[in-house]
Amino acid sequence: KKIVFLDVFQKVNANYIEIYKELTNGGEGYLYLENPTNPFEGGLFVKASSKGKKVDNLASLSGGEKSLAALSFIIAIQEYDPSPIYFMDEVDMFLDGVNAENVGRMFRRNSDSAQIIAVTLRKSTMKYAHQAIGVTYQDRSSMVVTKEMQVEEQVVP
């Protein structure tokens, strides 16, 4: 059991380091085990920092930094065991415009190898989509309108 876990940890950590760097334009982040020799006796800590700042534990970061670290953790787990489809519901909530754009760009890039469906309220995330679905509530029922993003509207990273 321990060997399996440590192997999963290694791979997810490797993913995390790379994803976090990409989403933060160069920030440094990594995961570490409180007790590396006996992992089941300790927790798993998330370290992150913005570019140019020193690395801190998750709890001492700003709201947006925490959110980006959590999202990187989630995507790192996704990449460990890839799926053909991903559904992400409002994962960009705490992010400023720049960070939300980084997420939108990552979705766009990763959609080469998987189908990504993301619910978002943010233009910065939406603008990188291949198609946009609009949902409204009218006449006491939800309804849906699909819009293919025009080439001019699309932003190709």
Binding site: S67, P84, Q115, I133, S142
Partner: protein, 169 residues
């Protein structure tokens, strides 16, 4: 393999039969608060996540049935998810596979029945789940990230976070 469409009939806020179509690549879903965006995700989970313990934000299955403003329930709900299967990730002959699930209220409204369909043929739950497992669709995990998952990862203890990795392996 990719998702082609989701069809909902009397599912949560979708009182009218609705088809949502998808293509390969990156699709965004947007709209006002309470318009039904997360409900579309719930439809996916409802059909594909029968083994998952993820909440559909409903206390019982019949809460998923569309209720109009006077609180009256529709007699049934139906949700279907259709995949392109040209690469045969799902071990079936057809190039298109549709998973459907129906919850129907009994005559006296106090009980319900659950039905499963694969391409319009009635199926048993275990065949339904077997195919989904083979195709690696929405296994429990983080392939389906719900509204609030980010916050819960931020707030969980380091031990709980380790627990997530344990489940991954």
């Amino acid at each position: 393999m990719f998702l082609k469409k989701i069809e909902m009939e009397n599912f949560k806020s979708f009182g009218k039969k609705t088809v949502v179509e998808f293509r390969k690549g990156y699709t965004s879903i947007t709209g006002p608060n309470a318009s039904g965006k997360s409900n579309i995700g719930d439809a996916l989970l409802f059909v594909l996540g029968t083994k998952s313990n993820k909440s559909l934000r409903a206390q019982k299955l019949t809460d998923l049935i569309h209720r109009n403003n006077s609180g009256r329930l529709s007699p049934y709900l139906k949700a279907s998810v259709t995949f392109d299967n040209s690469d045969k990730s799902i071990p079936l002959e057809s190039n298109e596979v549709t998973f459907s699930r129906i919850v129907k209220l009994s005559e006296n409204n106090d009980d319900y029945s659950s039905y499963y369909f694969i391409n319009d043929d009635r199926a048993r739950l275990q065949d339904f789940e077997y195919l989904l497992e083979k195709a690696k669709i929405f296994a429990d995990g983080y392939n389906f990230v719900r509204q609030g998952d980010i916050t819960s990862i931020v707030e969980m203890t380091p031990v709980e976070r380790r627990g997530i990795l344990e489940e991954v392996g």
